[in-house]
């Protein structure tokens, strides 16, 4: 049983090839970290999984991406995006209250029962380690929260639509170490229920939280293995060079 099965995936933006014949699997309830220098195709790969690349008019692909055995091009895209949630690099609360930010996805999906909304919102905020900090100010604008809180709000918002997979796109790139630690704690806890794919520029973060780690370079998947192995006995010289900080 695999969550994502990716076979010979090629992606182009106009004539620039962003991913080159990537074949890999993502397993249920793991944290898969994806590392690599900028322009290596990590984010493109991540945005493949919830079809966010479709928004780009220059996007072309071939190969297969199967989610729970189904071709993602054939499933309903809104349903796919609810099942495969995403947390972005910059926290981007919607211009709404804290409560409405978390409830937004459910409302879009047609849930209007207030009691149920309130309960799901509370649960989601608890899972994102944010509930204690905001429970008395749910009506306030989400912009009043600090950067770290906003990012946890975005995680809660993603959790509220009850996804199977959560994609993190450099979720801590703009955050201080304490906020980063809180988000990493949340991720480790979340993998009990969800499959997590984490794109990060921070190699140490991959080492701390990842069960498996994939190394991308220039659009190719160079190596994918258990995190301990990648960080102790990598098979490929280029992986070794990157994690030791020789380039990238």
């Amino acid at each position: 049983m695999v969550t994502f099965d990716i076979k010979k995936l090629n992606v182009w933006f106009d004539s620039t090839q962003a991913l080159k014949s990537v074949t890999m699997q993502i397993l249920p309830n793991e944290i898969l970290s994806i590392i690599g220098p900028s322009n290596s195709g990590k984010t493109t790969f991540l945005r493949m999984l919830n079809r966010l690349n479709d928004l780009n008019t220059r996007f072309k692909m071939n190969g297969d991406v199967l989610f729970d055995g189904q071709d993602i091009r054939k499933v309903d895209v809104e349903l796919l995006r609810r099942k495969v949630g995403m947390v972005f690099a910059l926290p981007l609360p919607l211009p709404l209250s804290i409560f409405d930010n978390v409830a937004y996805g459910m409302k879009m999906a047609g849930v209007n029962n207030r009691k149920r909304l309130a309960q799901v919102v509370e649960n989601a905020l608890k899972q994102a380690y944010l509930w204690e900090e905001v429970k008395d100010r749910m009506g306030e604008s989400a912009f009043k929260l600090s950067g770290g809180q906003q990012q946890r709000l975005c995680i809660a918002r993603t959790l509220a639509v009850e996804p199977e997979v959560i994609l993190f796109d450099e979720p801590c790139s703009g955050l201080d170490p304490i906020s980063t630690a809180k988000i990493e704690d949340a991720m480790v806890k979340l993998k009990e229920k969800y499959t997590i794919v984490l794109v990060t520029n921070n190699v140490k973060q991959a080492a701390r939280v990842g069960d498996r780690t994939a190394f991308f370079l220039n659009g190719e998947l160079i190596e994918l293995d258990k995190t301990e192995k990648i960080f102790t006995v990598p098979q490929d010289n280029r992986t070794d060079g990157y994690i030791r900080g020789k380039f990238g």
């Binding site: 966010l52 928004l55 796919l80 995006r81 972005f88 211009p95 996805g105 879009m108 918002r157 639509v161």
Partner: protein, 287 residues
């Protein structure tokens, strides 16, 4: 020497900057001086709310309520037509249209803005007026409705281009954030993009309406020019602007009629000013 050059250029630019303000003030003062004289003949209340406009009867009756209502009716009609279509068009251009259609549409809108209003009025007179007459079985097609429809065409380019700018300048991340939660494209537009761009869109609407209220030529040609209080949108009306344009040529300088026309100018000035200030407030709120 270089210092001196700098000094001269700086002062020159200063003069240019002050000139525009200076002229506005001058125009405003002149308008006030000529217009306020009318209040020696009729009180402000009777002027604004008087029901009959017979400037050359003896004694002249100078009530501009029919003109104000005429302007408001035509503007309201134009707003009702142009706002939904204009905002819809902006959404289509900014969000839905494929690149090619988007470029064609934008060029088309700019072209629409470039048509002189007298030409629009002329086309309206020949095409729209007979249609209105026949569809509603009226004695004449020169009605407030005809004026509203033609003015809607004039407000549309302003509304579309400014609203489209407002939608376009929303951070792309908002859209992605909403879509990534499984919202449909339309839900994203309705619940995220429109609220986020609301101040810009309101400003677009206000500026579009501002253009309609000040428009003269087209309305003069197709609204029928009857200075009576309109009882429906299918009646002929006369607007504030058309009154000034039509009567200024024949008013004797220094007569009550002459002063009254200037006073109408003040009323128009105040209305346009209020609309522009409101639009400005909305635009600033955005930043």
């Amino acid at each position: 020497m270089r210092k001196f050059k700098e000094f001269i250029i700086e002062k020159l630019i200063l003069v240019c900057g002050i000139a525009s303000i200076f002229f506005v003030v001058l125009i405003f003062l002149f308008l006030l001086k000529e217009g306020l004289a009318v209040f020696n003949i009729v009180g402000p209340f009777n002027f604004l709310f008087g029901k009959s406009w017979y400037p050359i009867s003896d004694p002249p009756q100078l009530g501009i309520l029919p003109l104000i209502l005429g302007s408001l009716l035509v503007t309201l009609g134009a707003a009702i037509i142009s706002i939904p279509i204009g905002v819809g068009c902006a959404i289509y251009i900014a969000e839905v249209a494929p690149l090619k259609i988007k470029e064609i549409l934008k060029a088309g809108i700019e072209l629409l803005a470039a048509i002189p209003s007298v030409v629009l009025g002329f086309i309206g007179m020949v095409t729209l007026v007979p249609i209105v007459k026949n569809v509603f079985h009226l004695p004449t097609g020169l009605t407030a409705l005809s004026g509203s429809i033609m003015l809607a065409f004039m407000a549309m380019p302003t509304i579309v281009s400014i609203a489209e700018d407002a939608l376009y300048s929303i951070p792309k991340t908002y859209k992605e954030g909403a879509l990534a939660l499984g919202a449909t494209h339309w839900q994203t537009i309705w619940r995220v993009m429109l609220p986020a761009a609301s101040s810009g869109i309101l400003a677009a609407i206000m500026l579009g309406i501002g253009r309609v209220i000040g428009e003269t030529m087209a309305v003069m040609m197709i609204t029928g020019n009857a200075a009576v209080i309109p009882n429906s949108i299918l009646a002929p009306v006369r607007t504030l602007t058309a009154t000034i344009a039509a009567e200024m040529g024949e008013a004797v300088v220094g007569s009550e009629h002459y002063f009254a026309l200037f006073a109408i100018g003040i009323v128009l000035f105040v209305i346009s000013f209020a609309i522009n200030v409101t639009a400005d407030l909305f635009l600033h709120k955005k930043q």
